[in-house]
């Protein structure tokens, strides 16, 4: 039994199971996707567990972006609750998992700085950026507004002195200065984030470690594989660049797989080995424009199944809270698809296949 064991995980396991029971079911998702438009969708969302978050928005403030932000607040509350209840030794891992959104926020801030002010003088740059930031509240070290208002990427990054991002960005900034492209900064941030998350998972012992490596490793598998494929197909990076921009670890994906993709072997054979359940990879990769997002959806469904499976068996380990938080995130992704689809009046057949949970029920 890992440190924490039954006594350490009894409360959090019960709490997480109670929270998990409030998750949207596949039927809920199907019902939400059947609504006529954005307003109807919001109306129906108010009767779900997201109701209190959506209801805090006044009608005149209601935009798709703000609705998504409110949904994310529920995920933020879930993280707060889980991290505070977790046993001491498991908190660094959960906190690092939560940092994913901070890294995303940082990228959004830098993109905002590069994009510059809006053509509409009534809307400040910060107004535009803050609506896309994950609501981390006090759990962030980013001086986001000051960064956005600093006016340049160099000045914005200077404001990160003393934060965990200073060191990583100090290397990447040399390249940014030469290339004037955020790609180098974003890759450096991503690699650093996943390396630290993996390190935290490996620091655990016993069943905690086993379960953490399973959930975190599966997340890394999906990201690493999609990076490798995108770098090769879209960015057409060289073998050495592709290797340097990916990670040598994961749960099922081995370094040889990534190196094989980098060296130019058939991608579908690698995907078929790692994800035997994912069919038609060849067809998907024939048309990367549409195929890659579909492949990503397939991999996310696989991840979702793996997280759901974590709830079966011994409940006294870190895998349960980890899996719950990942599932929560995937649920928000489904809601994001729905909100964006409904607000742009997209026909059902165009977005339904991108819903993770609703399609899972059909399957």
């Amino acid at each position: 039994m890992p440190p924490g064991g039954v006594s350490g995980y009894a409360a959090i396991s019960a709490r997480v199971r109670a929270m998990y029971s409030t998750a949207l079911t596949a039927q809920d998702l199907t019902s939400l996707s059947g609504t006529s438009d954005f307003i109807a969708l919001i109306g129906q969302l108010k009767s779900t567990v997201y109701g209190p978050y959506i209801e805090s928005l006044k009608d005149k403030e209601l935009t798709p972006r703000r609705a998504i932000l409110q949904c994310k607040r529920r995920l933020a509350d879930a993280y707060d609750s889980v991290i505070h209840m977790a046993p001491e030794h498991a908190r660094p891992l959960l906190a690092q998992l939560y940092r994913y959104y901070e890294v995303d926020n940082l990228k959004a801030v830098l993109r905002g700085v590069v994009a510059g002010p809006s053509w509409n003088p009534d809307i400040t740059l910060w107004d535009r950026v803050q609506d896309v930031l994950f609501p981390l509240g006090a759990m962030t070290v980013l001086p986001a507004q000051a960064m956005v208002e600093s006016g340049s990427v160099v000045s914005a990054v200077e404001l990160l002195k003393g934060t965990p991002y200073e060191e990583t960005l100090s290397f990447a900034m040399k390249r940014y200065s030469a290339e004037q492209n955020l790609f180098s900064l974003e890759v450096a941030l991503d690699l650093d984030y996943w390396r630290q998350l993996w390190r935290e998972a490996k620091r655990l012992a016993g069943q905690d470690r086993e379960q953490a490596l399973r959930v975190i490793g599966s997340l890394i598998d999906m990201n690493n594989l999609m990076w490798a494929i995108r770098y090769r197909i879209y960015h057409q990076l060289s073998e050495e660049e592709l290797i340097n921009y990916t990670l040598p670890f994961g749960y099922h994906v081995r370094d040889e797989d990534i190196r094989a993709i980098a060296a130019g072997v058939d991608i579908s054979s690698v995907v078929a080995r790692v994800y035997p359940d994912v069919s038609n990879t060849n067809i998907l990769l024939d048309n990367p424009q549409h195929g890659l997002p579909r492949l990503e959806v397939e991999l996310k469904r696989f991840l979702m199944k793996r997280c759901v499976a974590t709830f079966v068996g011994n409940p006294f380990h870190v895998g349960i809270p980890l899996a719950y938080l990942v599932l929560c995130d995937l649920e928000i992704q489904d809601l994001t698809v729905l909100i964006e689809a409904k607000s742009s009046q997209m026909p059902d057949e165009e977005f339904r296949s991108y819903l993770l949970k609703a399609s899972l029920a059909k399957g």
């Binding site: 060191e167 990583t168 290397f171 990447a172 040399k174 390249r175 180098s184 450096a188 690699l191 650093d192 390396r195 990076l237 060289s238 073998e239 050495e240 660049e241 290797i243 340097n244 921009y245 040598p248 370094d255 190196r259």
Partner: protein, 656 residues
Amino acid sequence: MFFPKAMTEIELIVPSKDLLAVTKTLSGRGVFHQADSGYSGAGGESGANTWLEKTTAYAALERRIQVIMQVLNLDEGQPRSTNIEKMIEVEAVLPTLERIEQEVKSVSDQLAEERKRVEQLESVLRQLEPVADVDVDISPLRNSHYLFSMLGVIPVANVDRLQTSLARIPYVFLTLRSDPQKPVVWLAGTRSNSDVLERAARSAYLNPLTLPDGYEGSPAQIISSLRKTIENTQQSISQLKQELIRLGDLHKEQLLTLLWSIHTSRILSEAIVRFGRLRYTYLIVGWVPSDDLEILTQRLKLVSKEILIETLPTKRGGHNQNVPVALQDSKFLRPFQMLVTTYARPRYGELDPTWLIALTFPLLFGAMFGDIGQGLVLAGLGALMSSKKVKALRGMAGLGGLITICGLVATFFGFLYGSIFGFEDVELFGFRIHPLWISPIHNIMQILTVAVGAGIVLLTLGFLVGIFNAAMSRDLGHLFFGHNGIAGFTLYLSLLGAGGASFGILHIAPHIFIALAILSGAAVMFSEIFINLVEGHRPLIDGGVGTYIIQAVVELFEVVISFLSNTLSYVRVGAFAVAHGGLSAAIFILAELGSPAHGVVYWIVVALGNLFIIGFEGLIVGIQTMRLSYYEFFSKFFTGGGMRFESLTLNPVDDE
């Protein structure tokens, strides 16, 4: 004394020519609370916009001066007495400010440039130091025909991945200096593979060392040249710093005068923005404490002969939510005002509970912490805090008075309990210290009963004050039928009476109290209907009758439970008095164990134990007293929610 300061609403109509003088008079006395009257009258909007623009311009100027002063390391100091005859003209001060700003900026930019240069050179130096002993001219490596070579730093996490990415070509990779974060490495290969090597190095974030122009030779020679350049640059930095000090001395007075004049102009124009603009006059609305009204009106008439002043004294009764609340000035009451305002600020028509808390808080504290010695120590500590003589305690000076009074009352209770530093029944300076009343630890039931009795008295007082407040605000519904109104109070007393009669304490038939309790209970239970009836609200109940009855029964149950818990909560006063004696006894047992012969160790343990009691128990008792005051006592009568009186002030030392 028992209410916040009486307020008078004041409306002024001021001719435009006297605007500045009147605004200065209003802001100079610290007795005028401004209300927003900036509505759009004839030509009002454009007038308000002009003042708004001026305010923005002043704020921008103020900020610019503050930035200059920050660069020059000048302290803004205390606000200066400013007796400006007219507002600062932005255009008039701009040239002077721009000249100083330019002078300072030119030096500070040079300084920043030189500092950056030193940083860059030191970075190159750090990378070269590990290879200082290589006696080879490294400059040709930069332009080698056959060899690709790169010296630089790389994130330590990327080292393995870089080597993996180069697996299919020949290369040499050496770590020249190990570092947990930034190792210095050298990567080399054939020139024919330079594109692969370059891509791999770039994607692994290997930052190559770029030697500044003009540095050639072996690493040792370059290091020597670099050090010399750094030394020269440091000298230049020192000179620039001296120049900034000189500029600071030169412009200090001018900057300070400008800063505070502009600050004053900003405050005045901010106030004027909120005045109402008529065609030739301005309308000013606000509140003045009635006691200061006469002096203020006299001064206003002195500075403006044509000013029209209309005053309207404000009554306590009725709804006064928009009247600002200034509490009475009293040095003695100030610490207790802090306790009250931490909970809430009284409304204008509400009884200010400061005087009540000034009586009850020290009493409750003293009863729980009764000890002559410890009380005196606490009082001494409080006096020390108030005196601000100890730097470390200055931050808590505001609490000093409260602690002193609590300590003195604890001393008084110490005499009642016969306890000095935990010792009971001892002889001191020829006097035998006997309890003047009782020793809590030996009379536990008695002290607990007295504590509950004191609680009943305090809660009764709370109910009475609550009823008075409701009557003052003409809130008849809550006055008669509220949980803390007459119905609630009758229910509380009748429940107490029924209890007293049942236990034979009161010689009155219990069913009289039971009948009263049923009547008043029914009034409390259906208070919502009665209150709606009195206030004329319809419908009388929300939702169905069945739901309402269930809700009313539950609410009545909750009210009765809260009466019980509020009363029993005061048991803690007696319990802490007992615990205080118990804790002292434990310290003496420990001291006895350490030194049965009452040697030095015994007294050390007793001294440390007393310090522990003063610190630890003092804190806990303080928190408990606050809890009793806030939750049991205040909840019976104190609503709060008053608006703070914020006087229009130019700066604290300014007097017109």
